[in-house]
Subunit: 359 residues, 2 copies
DNA sequence: TGGATGTGATCAAGCGTTTTAGCAAAATTA
DNA sequence: TAATTTTGCTAAAACGCTTGATCACATCCA
């Protein structure tokens, strides 16, 4: 009332900084009173309703009042009316364990934001009770849908409560693919790309150090290796496939066996193995890429980009997984190809494979 | 009505799996009707109100109805009434750039959850418009407060809108510390711990390769180095402090200068420099830790734990920063020590420093 | 001049909860 | 037996917003 009288005379209310009373936020009604209109009118102005008929003069008056009072809409009230929130839930089983999960979050967050959604995240660290609570919380907040993600690519059971909402599996998949949508990395294509880097480098005799741990990645990356060889007309030689534990020690430990194979290039199951292999090769007086070329998998920046020489590898597209998960959830990707989307793993070429001088 | 009649006879309604109609979620009123009571009663039962007088028999009837119908409270409605949500906002300037930010999120998430809060995150990647929108969104959702975090420790300006809510700076601080609370890593203590690892290893002549980039970490880590020396009664020799760009190349490039200093140990500004230094030393035929001992800073797992030999270093407590931020926000830490809390950086000893055999 | 059309804004119902005040019946006391 | 207290439950007013139905008035066309 008071401020209305004070300002009703001047057309352009100065954009004064506002004293904010946090205890009692400004409401629609107060704005309406200040502007001398009904709450309905204010609502229409705020939401820029297309076919709302509001005089330009009134519109300005309302906007001034809003600025003047420092009004913030109450999203809770808004959502109550609309019945659905602008949230997308993301439950992850391990933010802690790895830098990877962060990228899924990041991709999901960016894409969600692009479409006006905010991310509600929960980290369960594998704890099933926590997971149940997290999903319940998200359901109570009437999220638009839930992204259920794992930190490494694997099959997973779909928690029952997840089905109370729209959901998409990210970096994991259900054995029963008919009742759930999922987004996963294309391991086979990645393995093929990795191998192709070496083929392009002129190598014909290429070893593959696979992991000992069973996983979709183990099979996929091997298949990609075989596919690439086949496409290049090189017969697959099983004796060139070694196996080791997928870490630095594993790679280091595989050196000796590898050297017996007399190859000119190696494709490692992951970057950490490659890192260990670097040490092993060096100790044997071999230089990379001249004596032996190496590619990894994962593109773990901190490792791959900073080894000497920098490691050629293939990216696990975690950012893209998150983003694609959101798109799938919102039905934005016109993917007629069913419930499982595979995201490609792009090659990242660095100096661990020499450029091929025409043979 | 129908289901009420069906069940009103039997005391214990079997816990039947429920057909869930996602289009029209079950409401309090429906539960009330099914149980033959008022919504008030149902609400009272759900919230286990202490001084509500409800007959045990009624209570059970309501609980049955809830289970039976698969009722989920609507958090929006709840919050509308209470005027405040159970959200804590986290705005980060770079989830992408580094594995670190993920840890802040993780710590914040765990601690928030512990107190019944959910995390609403926004990644601004340094974009100010995005940041403004993100904060606005959080304010509209009536978050309990906002954690404003940066991916590396630095001074920052506090966005105006942030002040419309409770907030805590995490991993950053305002030049004007009187108007804002902040949680940061204790760089000086960390630098001291790092140096002490070497001192305990029996080293007296210790070089420090600092960064060339100005930052609180640069000053703090140097101060810690000096403090440790002083405490050990070793005079500070400025010529033992080198500077290089804080990455692998920088560390590698500093090798030559370092070797001129004739030291038995080096403390590097960060793990990436140490990683480069490893290469440089190796090329010079020096072995770690026998010829020269090395410690880093940051404890970037993928690097530090997997170098050969594994790198002794000091942890940047990102998880703790996030958790402490939440505690500070909620006023749970009885920290009488003002607006700035420093979190300690614990030493992580590995094999890059030999154990001291009594001199 | 009067019906039709268009314009600018308001009314009021409703979204799903919580919560206070209060009512009726049962239990207790005097 | 009557007065009082206790017990069990409900009515109804918020909370802050959206939206379809309406209304008063001005303009237009014939």
């Amino acid at each position: 009332m008071i401020s209305q009288e004070k300002n009703s005379g001047s057309a352009a209310t100065p954009d004064v900084p506002v004293k904010i009373d946090r205890a009692h936020p400004v409401t629609l009604r107060e704005v309406a009173e200040a502007a001398g209109v009904s709450t309905a009118t204010v609502s229409l102005v705020i939401n820029k309703k297309k076919n709302a008929r509001i005089a330009e003069e009134t519109r300005e008056r309302v906007k001034d009042a809003i600025r003047h009072l420092g009004y913030r809409p109450n999203a809770m009230a808004k959502n109550l009316v609309s019945g659905t929130s602008k949230f997308i839930g993301l439950v992850a089983d391990g933010v802690a364990t790895t830098p990877f999960a962060g990228q899924i979050i990041h991709g999901a967050q960016d894409e969600a934001w692009k479409h006006g959604y905010a991310l509600l995240i929960a980290n369960t660290e594998g704890n099933l009770d926590l997971e149940k609570d997290a999903i319940a919380m998200m359901l109570e907040y009437k999220v638009r849908g839930i992204l259920y993600s794992t930190w490494f690519h694997r099959p997973t059971d779909v928690p029952e409560t997840l089905r109370e909402s729209d959901f998409v599996l990210v970096n994991c998949f259900s054995p029963d693919s008919s009742t759930s949508r999922a987004v996963v990395p294309d391991e086979a294509q990645g393995g093929q790309s990795a191998t192709e880097i070496l083929l392009r480098g002129g190598h014909r005799r290429i070893a593959f150090i696979n992991t000992t741990t069973p996983a979709p990645a183990k099979d996929g990356r091997l298949k990609g290796y075989q596919d690439a060889l086949e496409a290049a007309g090189i017969p697959f030689d099983p004796s060139l496939v070694l196996e080791a534990y997928p870490d630095q020690e594993g790679g280091y430990g595989a050196t000796e066996e590898l050297l017996k194979r007399n190859v000119s290039a190696v494709y490692c199951y992951n970057d950490r193995m490659a890192m260990g292999l670097y040490d092993g090769l060096r100790e044997n007086g071999l230089s990379i890429p001249d004596d032996i070329a190496v590619v990894g998998f994962d593109n773990q920046e901190v490792i791959a980009a900073h080894l000497r020489p920098p490691l050629s590898t293939v990216s696990l597209p975690h950012y893209e997984l998150g983003a694609a998960g959101v798109r799938m959830l919102l039905g934005l990707d016109k993917s007629p190809d069913g419930n499982l989307v595979k995201i490609s793993c792009p090659a990242v070429e660095r100096a661990s494979v020499a450029v091929h001088s025409a043979a």
